[in-house]
């Protein structure tokens, strides 16, 4: 799985395969509520079982009126 390859773009392609998890959620305007949902969703992901986890836009809060405090 870890053999290095080179694409026609010239960039090193590090592996021939990788495994990813993509998260879909219904984020709240409340940060704690959103992060609790994320935590519950990813609980089933075993450590080192995937190469990457991809989260959605606005995962921590959607349409919050206080965006500065989120970051």
């Amino acid at each position: 799985m870890r053999d290095r390859r080179v694409t026609e773009a010239g960039a090193a392609q590090a592996v021939s395969k990788c495994r990813v998890t993509v998260v879909q959620m219904t984020s709240s305007h409340n940060v704690t509520t959103s992060l609790n949902q994320l935590d519950a969703l990813v609980r089933e992901v075993e450590p080192s079982s995937v190469d990457a986890i991809f989260l959605p836009e606005n995962f921590a809060a959607l349409a919050s009126s206080d965006v500065v405090s989120i970051g």
Binding site: M25, F54, P56, F59
Partner: protein
């Protein structure tokens, strides 16, 4: 929390977007707006890349929200970014960027073989355009395109389309979710990408 997640799961985390009041050069945004920053965290919990959403969603949509003016809250970013990982060079983009092909060409020229598109498409625009746009960007650039999405009826009143998906460099939806929160776990086969790039080198001639 995201850095802790990366450490706990011993994996890379492509953290959608977070509103940040500081630009990548550490200057503070004085007018009260923020940037929609997409952070990349390595398995040790280090933030190793950042992309600030360039194309802001200032549109009118036939849904319950009707008018979106992200530019009133967000300052646009100004440069593309990729994250170099052990498994691929990953290009970064966000939602509305998906309608701007040049952004993806820029990412491909930076070496991306996988492109992330964390999204919160509205239901009308998502149903009409999301899958077609995902496929188009994948085919044009011969890259995997990965979108984790918002979905459902939000307590803010927003309604989003969902349909998180992964599209192959050939333009096929490898797998997708429907409307409910959940996970999609799958394998990306880069030998397929190499073959497609060799057979149809259009991506290199854009």
């Amino acid at each position: 929390m995201i850095c802790a997640l990366a450490r706990a799961k011993r994996t890379w985390v492509f953290a959608g977007t977070m509103p940040l009041a500081v630009r990548p050069d550490k200057t503070f945004i004085e007018d009260g707006r923020v940037r929609a920053a997409s952070l990349v965290v390595d398995p040790a919990g280090n933030i190793v890349a950042r992309y600030d959403k360039i194309h802001l969603f200032d549109v009118e949509v036939s849904d319950t929200t009707r008018v979106y003016r992200e530019s009133s809250t967000f300052e646009p970013g100004d440069q593309p970014a990729v994250a170099t990982t052990p498994f691929a060079t990953v290009g970064l983009s966000v939602c509305y960027d998906l309608r701007f092909p040049k952004h993806y060409l820029d990412l491909t020229k930076l070496g991306a073989t996988v492109i992330a598109v964390p999204s919160a498409f509205t239901r009308p625009t998502g149903a009409a355009h999301f899958e077609a746009l995902m496929k188009a960007r994948a085919i044009e650039n011969a890259t995997f395109v990965i979108a984790g999405c918002q979905s459902g009826d939000h307590d803010s009143g927003r309604q989003t389309y969902g349909h998180s998906m992964v599209v192959s460099p050939w333009g096929e939806v490898i797998d997708h979710l429907e409307n409910e929160p959940g996970l999609l776990t799958l394998e990306l086969d880069f030998t397929e990408l190499e073959t497609i790039r060799r057979q149809i080198p259009a991506w290199r001639l854009q």
